[in-house]
Amino acid sequence: MRSRFNNPVLQKEFKLRFRSIKSFLGIFFYLLILGTLALVFIHVSSEAQHHLYFRPEVSRGMFSFLSIIQLLMLLFITPGLTAGVISGERERQTLNILLTTTVSSFSIITGKMVSAISYLLLLLVASLPLYSFVFLFGGVAPGEVVLVFLIYVTTIFSIGSVGVLVSTLIRKTIASVITSYAITLFLTIGTIIIFFISMGTGLFHPSSNHALPYIVASFNPIIALYSILESDFLFYAGTNSWFNFPIWIPFLCIYLFILIVNTAVSTWKLRRGK
């Protein structure tokens, strides 16, 4: 009997993905960009404060800066990595053969998704030494780092599941990639715009009592991350009378729900494409 955890699609994807030189170049350039930005931040901070050395109190700022930059990079990479996983198989004319095997639709979808997401997790792990640099100077609690990484993992799984779903529904990879980026852009930039619009004058009157900004903010990974980095952010959002717990909590719930729904729909639609 086939083991539940033995997913042939995942094993094959790992083999293909990590056999390619592109994957290693990807990690190299990812760390190069992140490292360069960290060094630029240190340099600019030192210059601005007329010190020739990096002061410990600046390390929290660097942590926030690195965290936001890393999230933006992940949001940029994830749709590109996941939006072609099914449509790409279809275009390479390998999907039909795979669908005539007894491997389940769920295994195909999760195998494809987990493989792409594993690469993103590898990027995250590879970036950890940069965070250790922050710890060297203090100012950040380990719990905060754990929460930040929880936001990352949830975001890449959910945005990844959006990519996989779109890739299952749309036959052409290019159209699938564009659609996935459009959805990601809406969830990041679009919800921020709606957030500020919905706040209206509430932004300047913290006592305002409406829930819509809070709900909209709960869909946005950048705001969720910011709510960890700036714990009193909720007060400025002006919604503290409705919900008095941090935005990252509903964010995690909503994104987990998105992941489950997208995976279920992708699995259901995979063999019902025609």
């Binding site: 009997m1 086939r2 033995n6 042939p8 699609v9 094993q11 094959k12 083999k15 293909l16 056999r19 390619s20 390479r92 004319q93 390998t94 039909n96 053969i97 795979l98 669908l99 005539t100 095997t101 007894t102 491997v103 063999r271 019902r272 025609k274």
Partner: protein, 316 residues
């Protein structure tokens, strides 16, 4: 073994497959013949559980393609007309992946893969990357892939398309070998003479409808109204020619370069042809041989299609 019952597939107003009904016995090599867009690939896609029929059903090995798709997948091996391969996998890894996809244990796969590669004459390519294989080799590798779980039914959609003559012969030989293993094989092809060589039975599909279904020999004789016959006599050729020319079904009498030989086209039924030979024997014509020349199956096919267009009704 395979029961296709009123299988219909519609795309909007277009009917790709129109109430196709067929029964195929176990161990038969069954050919599907038809022009592009006739419905062959649609039929195969439904049998391979890739497409859901609009109505009707097909039962393979007792399982419905509509209701028991997973069980059907276990007993079929499918090779599509166009397919891709994972270029960064070696031949061994390629087969191993599909073996794992069918839930075959690792140890069993390790034994099976060399055997399958030997069957398709690719033993020396076991550690070669798939992208460096020729088109013919990829076709054979794909055939090996479709056999990895030892299916009882093989569905091969245009297995020889795009191959050079040598690769076609190799593919044909492998299919004949598979036939000897008792597999039920469904093949579609445009290369009709080759199909005729391989298949026990063929069916002709046009505009999604079954036009004819029989053994290649019977179809040939049923539909080919005009047969070319070569007669060789010991002597007295002129007398023999006059004798045959008297028959109203004989036309296009020609003297051949070979001594004492002539040919003609015969338009009569099989029984009339038997009677013609019997009377020639009674008339004491010194006939050495009376041979019917095999007509190209493609000519038969074209003639059938012409008749279908004229009648617009199935011929059988």
């Amino acid at each position: 073994m395979i029961e296709i019952n009123q299988l219909t597939k519609k795309y909007g107003n277009f009917t790709a497959l129109d109430s196709l009904t067929l029964s195929i016995e176990k161990g038969t090599v069954f050919g599907f013949v038809g022009q592009n867009g006739a419905g062959k690939t649609t039929t195969f896609s439904i049998l391979a559980t890739l497409l859901a029929p609009t109505s009707g059903d097909a039962i393979i090995n007792g399982y419905s393609v509509v209701r028991d798709a997973k069980k059907v997948r276990q007993c079929i091996g499918y090779m599509p007309d166009f397919f891709g391969v994972y270029d960064q996998l070696k031949a061994r890894e390629y087969l191993d992946f599909y073996g794992a996809s069918y839930g075959i244990p690792v140890r069993e796969r390790e034994k099976l893969i060399p055997q399958l590669l030997e069957l398709v004459r690719l033993s020396d390519k076991i550690d070669t990357y798939v992208d460096s294989l020729s088109r013919g080799m990829k076709q054979r590798l794909c055939l090996a892939r479709s056999l990895i779980h030892d299916p009882e039914v093989l569905i091969l959609d245009e297995p020889a398309s795009g191959l050079d003559p040598r690769a076609r012969i190799e593919m044909k030989e492998i299919i004949k070998e598979l036939k000897s293993f008792g597999k039920t094989i469904l093949i579609s092809s445009h290369i009709l003479p080759e199909l005729a060589e391989m298949c026990d039975e063929i069916c002709i599909i046009d505009h999604g409808k079954l036009v004819a279904r029989d053994t290649v020999y019977q179809i040939h004789h049923h539909f080919k109204k005009e047969r070319t016959i070569v007669v060789k006599v010991k002597d007295g050729m002129e007398q023999a020619i006059r004798y045959f020319e008297d028959d109203p079904n004989v036309k296009n009498m020609k003297r051949m370069e070979e001594k004492n030989s002539f040919s003609f086209t015969y338009h009569g039924e099989t029984d009339e042809q038997i009677e013609l030979i019997r009377k020639a024997m009674v008339a004491n014509l010194p006939i050495l041989s009376f041979q019917e020349i095999e007509t190209n199956v493609e000519d038969v096919f074209l003639e059938i299609m012409r008749e279908v267009e004229e009648n617009e009704e199935p011929l059988q």
